[in-house]
C-alpha cells in the first residue's frame, strides 16, 4: 500500500526552540491514525506542519505522491488535506451555511459544491435546521459537527483533527469518535487525529504514534500500543524525566 501522507525526518523550529526532532510518520489511504503525547509534546505542531502553516527546517512532506514540503496551505487543501482545527474554530459571526462554504473555498465547481452542501445537510440534520444561525451561537457539540462538515466540504482525502474532543462532555466525546469512524467508513477519508485519552483514541485508530518533547518515542498498531508497558508512562510525558 502506498502512503497517502508521509513525513520523513522532519525537523521544525520555533526560533531557536527545536519543536519537532527528526520525525517520520505515515498515514495510509483510508486509514485512521492517532497522535498521542503529553502537553507541549508537539502534537499541534505536527498538525500545523502537515497543513503547511509552519515551515520545516529539514526533512520532507509527501502527500498523494507529491512533494508538498514547500507548498502553500492553499495548495495542500486543494490537493486534499483538510483540517479540523484545535478548539474547532468555526467562524463565529458567519452562518452555518457560510461556514460550510468557507470549507469549499478552494473549489470552483459550483454544481459539485451545491451537491456537497446538500450531502452535509443530510449527514448532519442538526446543521440543516440551523443553516441560517450564526455559528458562534451553536453548542459545543454542534460546532464540532460543523467543523467536521466544513472540513469535508473540500472533498478531502485526509482530514487532520487536532483534539476534536477537547472540552466536550463524555457522551459527546463518544459521539465525535463515532462520527470519525463513520466519515472514514462511508467516505473512505483517511483521518489523522490528536487525542489526549489514549485508550479512547486507540479504540478507533488502526495505528498510533506517541510524541514526547518533539520526538516520536513509540509507534505501532493500536493493539501493540495498548499492551505496551511504556505507553502510560510515555503518554503522561514521564519517560523524558526518568
Amino acid at each position: 500500500m502506498t502512503d497517502l501522507l508521509a513525513l520523513d525526518d522532519v525537523n521544525v523550529y520555533y526560533g531557536p526552540f527545536h519543536a519537532l526532532r527528526g520525525n517520520t510518520l505515515t498515514v495510509g489511504e483510508g486509514e485512521i491514525v492517532s497522535l498521542l503525547g503529553g502537553n507541549a509534546s508537539g502534537k499541534s505542531t505536527t498538525m500545523k506542519t502537515i497543513l503547511g502553516l509552519i515551515k520545516v527546517k529539514s526533512g520532507t512532506v509527501h502527500f498523494a505522491g507529491e512533494d508538498v514540503t514547500h507548498a502553500s496551505t492553499r495548495h495542500r487543501v486543494k490537493a486534499g488535506i483538510a483540517s479540523v482545527p484545535e478548539a474547532r474554530r468555526v467562524f463565529p459571526q458567519m452562518t452555518v451555511d457560510e461556514n460550510l462554504m468557507a470549507g469549499a473555498y478552494t473549489r470552483s465547481d459550483r454544481a459539485g459544491i451545491a451537491e456537497d452542501l446538500e450531502r452535509m445537510r443530510d449527514r448532519f440534520p442538526r446543521l440543516a435546521e440551523r443553516r441560517r444561525q450564526e455559528a458562534g451561537t451553536l453548542s459545543g457539540g454542534e460546532q464540532q459537527m460543523l467543523a467536521f462538515a466544513r472540513a469535508l466540504m473540500s472533498r478531502p482525502k485526509l482530514i487532520c483533527m487536532d483534539e476534536p474532543t477537547m472540552g466536550l462532555a463524555p457522551k459527546l466525546v463518544d459521539q465525535v469518535l463515532d462520527e470519525i469512524v463513520r466519515i472514514n467508513k462511508e467516505l473512505g477519508v483517511a483521518v489523522l487525529f490528536v487525542e489526549q485519552q489514549a485508550e479512547l483514541a486507540l479504540s478507533i485508530a488502526s495505528r498510533g504514534y506517541v510524541l514526547a518533547t518533539g520526538e516520536i518515542v513509540l509507534k505501532g498498531t493500536s493493539n501493540e500500543l495498548l499492551h505496551n508497558p511504556q505507553i502510560q508512562e510515555a503518554y503522561l510525558g514521564k519517560a523524558t524525566q526518568a
Binding site: 496551505t73 458567519m94 468557507a102
Partner: protein, 600 residues
C-alpha cells in the same frame, strides 16, 4: 440647530468612510493603520491637483484619486505593513505611523504646504427647507457614501473575496487552514481602505473648500475614535460610530467653539474605552497585551560598553565640546541634550513598563508652559521653575492619563497619542497667543543666555537624568516596572497591579518631559501651542527606538544622530521628517532592539 445637524452628518460622512477603512484593515490584519490616515490629506490634495491645477472635470478626478490612493495603499502594504504584521501588530503600527509622516511630507513637498482653495464644483447652498440650507454637493456626498456602503455590504455578504475577508477577520488561523488566501485578502482590504480614505479626503476638500497635505493625521485620528466608538473591526459599527461622532462633534463645536474639537474627540475616546471598550456594536476586543519589552523591541543584548566609555563621554560632552565648538554647534548641542533628557526619561515608560506612549509632546508642553508662567507671574527663579515644571507635567499628565491604564495594546498607544493632542488643545484654549519674553536663566545676577551657558545647563541636567534613570532601573521599583512590562499577566498573578506601575512609569517620564519643556521654553524665550506637535512626539519615540527602548544612554545616541546629525547636515524640515520615518521603519524591521542592541 438643524444646520448643525447637517454639519454633523457631513462630518460624520467623512469619519464613517475613514472608520470603515480602519475597521476593515484592523479586522483582517489586527493592525491600526496610521498610513491610511494620510490618505485623507492626500485624497484632498490629489483632488485639488486634478481639478484646480489640471482642470479635469470632477467626475474624472474622483475615480483617478481613488485608483491612485488604492495603488499606493497596496505598495505600502507590500513594502511595510505585511512584512511586519507577521511579527507583532505593534511593530506594524509604529511603522505605519512613520509611513503616514513620510506620505504627509512627500505630499507637502510635491504640492506645497499652504492651504489650497478647492474650486466649488457643485452648488453648496441651493436648497432651503425651513431654516435648513444645504446644497447639491452635500446631497451628492451623502449619496455616494450610501452607495459605497451598500456595495461594500453586498460584496462582503456575497462576494467570494468578501466572504474571505469576513472569515479572515473572524479567525485568521482557521481561514488559513481552509485554504483561504489570507495574503490576498489583506491586500484587497488595504486597497479598499486606502481608496475609502482617498474618497473621504475628496469629501473634505468639497465640504471645507480647502485642501492641505497635513490635515490627514488629525482627521484620521478622529476617524479612529469613530471606529472605536462603533466597535473596532465592525463595519456597521464604523458607519454608526462615524455619524454619531460627527454629530456629537458638530454640536460640541456649536456650543464650545472650534478649538474644543480635539478635546471633545479625546473625551469621547476615553469615555468609550472606560464604559464600553468594545464600542457600540463590537464585543470586547480581543487584542492581547503586547508589551514592548521582551516581545519585540526589548529583545537582544545591549552591546558591551567598555568601562572607559562613560568618563570619556563625560569629558568629551562636558569639557571638550564646550571648549572647542562654535556657537552654532553648541546651539545644536542644546537641542540634542534636551531631547536626550526627554527620551532618556521616556525609556521607563517605553522600555520598562512596555507602554508605547505616542503623545510625549503633551507633557513637554505642560512643562514649558508651567515654567514660563511661574517665572513670569510668580517670579520663581529658573532653577526653582525647572523641577516645578517637571512635577506639574507629571501630575497633570498623570491625572489626564489615569483612565487609560486599564486598556491594552493599540488602544493605550492611541489613547496617549490622543492625550498629547488634547493637552495641546487645552493649552491652545487657555493661552492661544503664545508667551513672549520668558526670562532667561540667571546665576547670582549673571545672565546665562550664551549658547555655552545653555549647553552646560542642559548637560548638567542630562547627567542628573541619566543618574536618576540608572538608580531607578536598579531599584526594587524599577524591577517591578520591568516585570509588569515583560509579562503583565504573570505580574498580576503575583499580586502586582500592573496599571499602577504603568501609571507611575508614565509619571516619571512625564516629569523629565516637563523638565525638557522648561529648558526649551527658557532657551527660546517664546512658546506657542504650534510647537508641540505630534511630530515632536514621533521624534521622542523614534529616538528611544533607535537607541534601544530600554537603554537610557541609547536615548543620548539616538538624539545625537537624529537631531545633531540632521541639523549639521542641514536637512530641511520636510526631509528630516521623512528621514525620521525611514529610520523608524528600518530600525523596527531590521534592528528591533535599537542600534546598540544585538538581535537575539
Amino acid at each position: 440647530m438643524l444646520n448643525t445637524l447637517i454639519d454633523g452628518l457631513l462630518r460624520g460622512n467623512v469619519y464613517a468612510l475613514g472608520a470603515v477603512g480602519i475597521s476593515l484593515v484592523f479586522g483582517v490584519m489586527n493592525v491600526v493603520n496610521f498610513a491610511q490616515f494620510s490618505f485623507f490629506g492626500l485624497g484632498a490634495m490629489l483632488a485639488w491637483f486634478f481639478v484646480a491645477q489640471e482642470g479635469l472635470p470632477f467626475w474624472l478626478a474622483l475615480p483617478l484619486v481613488l485608483v491612485i490612493c488604492g495603488a499606493l495603499g497596496l505598495v505600502i502594504n507590500i513594502s511595510v505593513v505585511r512584512p511586519l504584521a507577521k511579527f507583532l501588530p505593534l511593530a506594524a503600527m509604529l511603522s505605519t505611523y512613520a509611513v503616514s509622516q513620510i506620505l504627509d511630507n512627500v505630499s507637502q513637498i510635491s504640492f506645497g504646504a499652504q492651504f489650497r482653495v478647492f474650486p466649488q464644483v457643485l452648488p453648496t447652498s441651493n436648497f432651503h427647507i425651513g431654516n435648513m440650507r444645504f446644497g447639491t454637493s452635500d446631497v451628492v456626498m451623502l449619496s455616494i457614501t450610501a452607495v459605497v456602503m451598500v456595495v461594500m455590504s453586498l460584496f462582503l455578504k456575497y462576494g467570494k473575496i468578501g466572504k474571505a475577508i469576513r472569515a479572515t477577520a473572524q479567525d485568521q488561523e482557521a481561514a488559513l487552514q481552509m485554504g483561504i488566501p489570507v495574503g490576498l485578502v489583506q491586500h484587497v482590504s488595504f486597497v479598499i481602505a486606502s481608496s475609502l480614505g482617498g474618497l473621504a479626503g475628496v469629501f473634505i476638500a468639497l465640504y471645507i473648500g480647502v485642501a492641505n497635505p497635513t490635515s490627514g493625521l488629525d482627521i484620521g485620528l478622529t476617524a479612529f475614535v469613530a471606529a472605536t466608538l462603533g466597535g473596532l473591526g465592525s463595519l456597521v459599527g464604523g458607519v454608526i460610530g462615524g455619524f454619531v461622532l460627527g454629530i456629537l462633534e458638530a454640536f460640541g463645536i456649536y456650543f464650545f467653539g472650534d478649538t474644543s474639537r480635539e478635546i471633545i474627540v479625546f473625551v469621547i475616546l476615553i469615555v468609550v474605552l472606560i464604559v464600553r471598550p468594545g464600542g457600540l456594536m463590537g464585543k470586547v476586543p480581543l487584542i492581547s497585551t503586547e508589551p514592548l519589552t521582551g516581545t519585540f523591541l526589548g529583545k537582544g543584548r545591549p552591546l558591551r560598553m567598555p568601562r572607559w566609555v562613560w568618563p570619556a563621554a563625560f569629558v568629551v560632552g562636558g569639557v571638550v565640546i564646550p571648549l572647542v565648538a562654535s556657537d552654532y554647534v553648541l546651539t545644536t548641542g542644546t537641542q540634542v541634550l534636551i531631547y536626550a533628557i526627554i527620551a532618556a526619561g521616556f525609556t521607563v515608560t517605553a522600555g520598562q513598563s512596555g507602554v508605547l506612549a505616542l503623545g510625549q509632546a503633551g507633557p513637554i508642553a505642560i512643562g514649558a508652559y508651567t515654567s514660563a508662567l511661574v517665572t513670569m507671574n510668580l517670579h520663581f527663579s529658573f532653577w526653582a521653575a525647572l523641577p516645578v515644571a517637571g512635577l506639574s507635567a507629571a501630575i497633570i499628565a498623570s491625572v489626564l492619563a489615569s483612565p487609560i491604564w486599564g486598556v491594552k495594546g493599540h488602544y493605550i498607544s492611541i489613547a496617549t497619542l490622543g492625550l498629547g493632542v488634547a493637552i495641546v488643545a487645552i493649552i491652545q484654549l487657555l493661552e492661544p497667543q503664545g508667551i513672549y519674553n520668558i526670562p532667561v536663566p540667571q546665576w547670582f545676577g549673571t545672565v546665562l543666555s550664551t549658547p555655552i551657558a545653555y549647553y552646560l545647563i542642559d548637560f548638567g541636567v542630562l547627567v542628573i537624568t541619566l543618574l536618576v534613570m540608572w538608580r531607578i532601573r536598579r531599584s526594587h521599583l524599577g524591577r517591578v516596572i520591568s516585570a509588569v512590562g515583560s509579562d503583565e499577566v504573570a505580574a498580576l498573578a503575583s499580586g502586582v497591579r500592573g496599571r499602577n506601575y504603568k501609571a507611575l512609569a508614565f509619571a516619571i517620564s512625564a516629569f523629565f518631559a516637563g523638565v525638557g519643556g522648561s529648558l526649551l521654553a527658557h532657551q527660546y524665550t517664546y512658546i506657542d501651542p504650534t510647537m508641540f506637535t505630534m511630530l515632536m512626539s514621533l521624534l521622542v519615540v523614534t529616538i528611544v527606538i533607535m537607541g534601544g527602548v530600554s537603554l537610557p544612554y541609547g536615548a543620548v545616541v539616538g538624539s545625537i544622530i537624529l537631531i545633531g546629525a540632521m541639523e549639521l547636515l542641514r536637512f530641511t524640515p520636510e526631509l528630516r521628517i521623512i528621514a525620521y520615518g525611514l529610520v523608524l521603519i528600518l530600525v523596527v524591521r531590521f534592528r528591533p532592539g535599537g542600534i546598540l542592541v544585538r538581535n537575539s
